[in-house]
Structure formats: C-alpha cells, structure tokens
C-alpha cells in the first residue's frame, strides 16, 4: 500500500479539516473552556457534533454500530485535533478505550458502545501509577471477592478521569509487580464506591486525575477479556494510543510550524521581513524536514497497524519518539522565532508548546520509546 492517503481518506481529511477549523478551533474550544475554568477542559457539545460526524465510533466494527475504519482514518481526525489544539475525549475514548472494549463481552459492548457512538459517554484509561509511563509494572491489585473483585491501589495521569462515565483500569490479578502475565483490565464505572478522584489541571489546560482505589467492589462482568489475560489487550490499546498520540503530535507540529512560517512572512525588523534572514530560513527549513519525516513514519505505523503487521509495535515506538522530537522542535522554534510576542498568552504559539509538552508525556516520551526501540532491536 502506498504511503499516502487513498481517495476516501483524502476526502475524510478534507471533511475533518473543515470541521475542526470551524468547530474545534482554538478560540471556540481551547480558550473558551480554559477561560471559563471548565472542570472538564473540553466541550460536550463538540463531542456530540463529533458523534454526528461519525468520528466517535469510527474504529468500532460495523456490527457494533461503528464505521469499521482503521487507524489511518482515526489519525486523520487526530491530526486535525492536534492542529487546532481541540480539547476532546477522542484519543482516550474513541481510540484507547474503544480498542479495549473491542475485546469486551457482548454484554459489555452493549453497556458502553452506544453511548460512545452517540457522543453521550466519555471514557478514560488508567495505566500509569507513577509520574513516568511504565506499563510493564502494574501494582494496582484486583483480588477475588465473592463473584467479583476488590480493587485497591492508585493511578495517575488519568486524562479526563473525572469527566468519564467509565474508566478502563489495568490491575494485577496474579503474579508480582513486573510480571508480563497476571494483568487484567476492568471497566470501572464512575460511581464505583471506594474510588476517589483528585482531578488536577495540567499545563495545557486539560484535566487529569490521580485516582485512589480503596477496596472498590467490582462485579465479574467488569472484566474486559479474560482474567489474567489483560496484557495483550493492554498492549493493543497502548500501540493504538501511541500511534494516535503521534498523529495528534504531527498536527501540533504542523500547526505550530504554519503559525511560525506565517509570522516570518509578516514581522519586519531592520526594515526587512524577518523571513528574509538566512539564519531563520535555514532553521525553518530544517524544521520542515523533521516534520515531514515525522508525518511519514506516522502513516507508516498506521498502515502497519491496520494491516495487523507484527512490526506495528516497533514502528509505534519509532513514531511516538520521532514525533516527540519533531513536534518538540516545532514548538520551541515557534516560540523563539516569534520573539517576545511568543511569550504572551494572547498569541497561540505558546498554547502549542503547552499541548506538545502534555502529549509528549502521554503514553511514553521520546526517551521511553527510543529505549523501547533499542530493546526490541536487541541492544
């Protein structure tokens, strides 16, 4: 398959681009909700609109009421989300949680998927337990209790946790902290007794929770997939989520770069447009090159994942790491080339820097993923 969008995908990109620029733009969403100190950090009305566009259930099978599309398509939506810094539950609900729920029972799908498809429900995923992403270590425990389980432990960086109707929680049902096996995924409803959320606002105005589980009683039907068999599902949702986050990161990078290149063509100093200075031209061109490479590896990873290729996992880490570097460069160069005005809240470039910072950390930063590339390559 060639590494560019098919005609259908190009049409979707046009649609998504128009929709996000119109409805999901920075003034209408990010700044709007931020300036009102919104407890969700995103707008539910937009989430409904995204449902009407067919985005919310796009990755779900047609039998489950979804569109049966792939990660190239989800990535198209995510890139536009990134470009407009649109706060929405799409990545956590429609990519991460949806990937987990695909492995759920028919009963569980019936419970959760219609709400997602309609844009009525929001889901979160609780994986990290410390300040850095380290999914190999799962210490939150789920012990057998009657017909169900008792959940105890804590999670952090649960994005939109307090706004969610259900949280996918990775917990240990057997073995020790670092064991590959013995992990189970649970769908924990928001109103579960014994679950305490401490939501905090992050640098990019999004909300994420620290969650404590103190003897949370769960029915057996809260298990996603098989007991002790959650690692494979966790890996699947991580791969999908990382590739999705990388796509959003490409959007952030392109958005920041476009703003910056425009600025170089408008700002005058020493009687010249600053874009005439070779010192800035070369930096802008280097940035363009890095962003192009990042785009390429993201579509490669998306296609591999959609094809069910084994190498999708390696390429997900390559993509996440490469995008982290390219987008990091885009926002840093962006602020610097804007000069003093880049430090003001009034200009959008700083918002890109903040979103990039949060996105870098989400599901593993460049250091984590480069290390993973090394391990998977055998060194």
């Amino acid at each position: 398959m060639p590494l560019y969008h098919t005609e259908d995908q190009a049409m979707l990109a046009d649609t998504a681009s128009g929709f996000m620029a119109e409805e999901g733009n920075i003034a209408k969403q990010l700044r709007h909700w931020r300036d009102r100190d919104c407890k969700d950090g995103f707008g539910h009305a937009l989430w409904k609109q995204m449902a009407e566009m067919g985005f919310t259930g796009m990755l779900l099978d047609e039998d489950d009421g979804g569109l049966g599309l792939g990660h190239v398509e989800a990535g198209i939506v995510l890139e536009e989300i990134g470009r407009n810094l649109t706060p929405s539950p799409f990545l956590t609900s429609s990519v991460l949680a949806a990937t987990a729920l695909k492995h759920g029972s028919a009963d569980m799908k019936g419970r959760y998927l219609p709400g997602l498809i309609e844009g009525e429900s929001v889901f979160a995923v609780a994986i990290d337990e410390t300040a850095k992403h380290r999914p190999s270590r799962i210490t939150t425990k789920a012990e057998k209790s009657g017909n169900g389980f008792r959940l105890s432990g804590s999670k952090s960086f649960v994005v939109q946790g307090a706004s969610s109707d259900m949280i996918v929680v990775a917990a240990r049902t057997s073995g020790s902290d670092e064991d590959e096996e013995g992990v189970t995924l649970f769908a924990v409803p928001q109103d579960a007794a014994g679950m305490t959320q401490n939501p905090v606002r992050l640098v990019d105005s999004s909300m994420a929770s620290h969650i404590a589980f103190e003897g949370v009683e769960l029915d057996g039907d809260a298990v996603i997939g098989e007991v002790d068999g959650g690692r494979a599902i966790l890996n699947a949702l991580l791969t999908a989520g990382r590739i999705g986050a990388a796509a959003e990161g490409v959007g952030v990078a392109r958005g920041a770069m476009d703003l910056t290149i425009d600025y170089l063509k408008q700002r005058k100093q020493f009687g010249k447009l600053i874009g005439e200075f070779q010192g800035l031209q070369h930096r802008a061109s280097h940035l363009y090159s890095e962003v192009e490479v990042a785009r390429a590896v993201v579509i490669k990873a998306q296609q591999l994942l959609d094809a069910g290729a084994e190498s999708a996992e390696l390429m997900s880490s390559v993509a996440k790491a490469k995008v982290a570097k390219a987008a990091g460069l885009a926002v840093k160069e962006g602020v610097q080339m804007h000069g003093g005005i880049g430090m003001t809240d009034e200009y959008d470039i700083g918002l890109y820097m903040k979103r990039d910072r949060a996105l870098q950390e989400f599901l593993g930063d460049a250091f984590f993923h480069a290390g993973r590339v090394a391990e998977m390559s055998g060194y």
């Binding site: 290149i261 447009l273 874009g275 005439e276 090159s289 890095e290 490479v293 590896v297 590339v373």
Partner: protein, 397 residues
C-alpha cells in the same frame, strides 16, 4: 492471485534461479561494484553471470522501456523488484552514472536517436559515463561556470576545467555543462555529450582525506566536439543554450540518489550491529552511546519510512517538486551521524587505517567519505535555501 502477486512470485523464482549466492553478500570493496564501460573487468564469474542475466532481462534498468534496454516495469512492479532484491540482499548488477543521471535526462529531453544509442549502451554496461558540472570557481554557484565551447559551424572547440568528476579517469564519455553564450547566464549553457577519447581531454585523480580517489579534475584543451554523432543524435541534450533546464532536472535526480544512499531498510538501524561489533573487541556499549544509538535508530527508521513515502508520492505525481532537496538534506546529515556513531562504537579498532580486521581501514575511510555527502550534489546549506524558497515560500530566499 492478483497480477502483482503473480509478478512477485515470478520475481522471487527468477532471482532464486539467477542471483548467485556470492551476489547476495554485502559489498566489501570497490571491486565488488560493477560499473561497466570499455575497460571494465569482472571480479569473478558470479559477478559476470548476475550482470549478464540482468542485462538479458532488462533488470539493469528495470523501469526503462524495453526498446532502450529496460524491462518496462511499472512503478508497482519496480517497487516489488526492489523489495525482493533487498530481501535477499542482492547487489545491484550494474552501478552507473548513466543509469542514475544521464539516463533520466535522456528519457526526458533526448531525441529518439540519442535514446536508442546511448540508453541501450548504458543498459548493457557498454559505456561508462561521468558528470562534468562543477568547476574550480563554480561550486555551489554552479551557473557561473566558465568552460567555453566556441561555435565553429559543424563543431565546437571546448576549453575549460571540470572538477569533482566522479571516476572520470575510468569513464568513456562525459556529460558536460559548457557555456555557449557568454552574454546569457542561465540561457547560455549547453548540456554536451563528449567522448573522452577525443584529443585534448585529460584527467587527474584527486586524493581525498579518505585516502581514496573517486574524483578527478578533468581538463578540456581545445577539444573538437562534433555537433552530431549521427542521424538524430545531436551532441547536446535538449536545445543549445538551454542546458541549464536539463542540469536542474538532473540535479533533482542526483539529490534523490544521494538521499537514497542514506536509507535502505537493511541498513537503517545500527544499534544492534554496533552491540555485536563491541562484543567482538570485548567491549560493551557505553550506556550514553547506547542512548545515542537508540535516538539515531529512531531517526533512521523514521527516515526509511520517509524514503518509501517519497518514492510512492513521486511515482504517483504527488508530493512537492522540491521535495528531493529535503530528502537529500535529511538523508546525508543522517548518514554522517550514522558514521560518527559507528566510529565511536568501534573504538580504537575503527582508527586503523590499514589492517585485515578493518578490511583496509574501511570504517575510518567510510566515515571520512560521508563528510562529502552533504557537500556534493548541492550542500546542505543550498538544500535549505531551496526549501526556504520553493517549499516554504519565504521572502527573498
């Protein structure tokens, strides 16, 4: 099975039958690369057999039309052939500036007579070409070139000096930028084909910091160049005084070729092989070096995807026409970084200039060679200038 699946299966069995095991080993030295030409010799029977099988099949230039010695493969078929050759590690049967550079120019700008003669000679490895672009006073500012062809009716008399002519001392013909109008900077250059056996053509190898001499100075002293080599075979490609168009087109190809050398799926990531290399000398990868290698491998694997996307887009007529400049810039800078890391991983062993263990100082010489990657065919800084102007549309660029 779809047509392409059938083609893949046929290609696999053809390669199995025709590519000798020795030709699936990595290239170790210059003699492993067959360049063709009047003076060429084969290193061994396997090299000869592989070359001849490919000539017969049209696989020295698979995407060229059959009437010019190619196999007439479409883009999808050519990609499959590349993939299958890469999968078994097959060496290119023929390396040649004729294939990479003159061929594409002739296919686009050549007359039917030129194509019939020169393309077939290139495809069959009969003529080895070299490129005469740069001059001592015209490097990055190539259009200032001074080599002059004086019009003498049925011939030109050419005088001047070219530099960085790759393997000119072993080439049979040179495609050469010659000024034919001193008053017209851009529209005063003719893309001229010159037989190096003509009187007045001489070459002198340039010894590089790597100790090798892949480049020459080429001198043209009162060389009488006929305006025609036969019916419908003019000595110039494109029109007289319009050679700059051909040169620009070709520079694009050269940039693609150089950027391609930085990629290649089999060699993209180096971390694992550097770990093995360290183990051979009883060393372990330093943790900070390992981290650098990991960061490099991320960039290299991502660039491999970029190379694939670039080729796919180019074949489909998508993508920005100035994108080869980005590929060249990124690919060559990456390759320099790769060799820096390889030197570091090899330690003092990689300093050896002459030893059997290093096959004659290959690590050090290759490392030094890569420094030219971002100079030849347009420096990195020129590439960034072009990206600024043609892609980013920055003012005054």
């Amino acid at each position: 099975m779809s047509d392409l699946e059938t083609f893949r299966a046929q290609t696999q069995s053809w390669l199995e039958a025709n590519c000798p095991p020795e030709m699936r080993e990595p290239v170790r030295d210059d003699a492993d690369v067959y360049w063709g030409g009047r003076r060429a010799t084969f290193k061994n029977e396997a090299q000869k057999a592989w070359f001849e099988a490919c000539v017969e099949k049209g696989y020295t230039v698979p995407a060229w039309p059959k009437e010019y010695g190619g196999a007439g493969l479409n883009a999808a078929e050519a990609k499959i052939l590349r993939q299958e050759m890469s999968r078994i590690g097959a060496r290119p049967p023929l390396s040649s500036f004729g294939i990479w550079m003159l061929g594409p120019a002739l296919l686009k700008f050549g007359t039917e007579g030129q194509k019939q003669r020169f393309l077939n000679e290139i495809a069959r490895g009969e003529t080895r070409w070299c490129q005469g672009y740069s001059e001592p006073g015209s490097g990055s500012d190539l259009v200032s070139l001074q080599t002059y062809g004086e019009d003498k009716g049925d011939h030109w008399v050419v005088n001047g000096q070219k530099v960085w002519t790759s393997y000119a001392d072993q080439a049979d013909w040179i495609f050469c930028l010659v000024r034919t109008d001193k008053d017209n900077k851009y529209q005063g250059i003719t893309f001229t084909l010159i037989d190096m056996a003509f009187e007045g053509v001489s070459t002198k190898p340039i010894k590089l910091i790597s100790g090798n001499s892949p480049f020459c100075e080429t001198f043209l002293d009162n060389v009488k160049v006929p305006k025609s080599y036969g019916e419908d075979i003019p000595a110039q490609v494109g029109e007289v005084n319009r050679g700059w168009d051909v040169a620009k087109y070709l520079l694009g190809h050269e940039r693609e070729m150089i950027s391609g050398m930085g990629g290649g799926e089999r060699t993209a990531a180096i971390g694992a092989s550097m770990k093995r290399l360290s183990a051979k000398t009883g060393d372990e990868l330093d943790p900070v070096l390992r981290a650098e290698l990991a960061m490099f491998d991320v960039d290299a694997l991502a660039f491999t995807a970029m190379g694939e996307k670039f080729m796919d887009e180019m074949k489909a007529g998508k993508g920005h026409p100035a994108q080869p400049n980005m590929m060249k810039y990124t690919g060559t800078e990456l390759n320099k970084r790769r060799h820096e890391l390889m030197m570091a991983a090899g330690g003092s062993r990689s300093l050896e200039w002459e030893s059997d263990e290093t096959r004659g100082g290959t690590p050090a010489r290759s490392w030094l060679r890569t420094k030219a990657n971002s100079i030849e065919g347009g420096t990195s800084e020129i590439m960034l200038n072009v990206i600024s102007k043609r892609i980013l549309d920055l003012p005054g660029a």
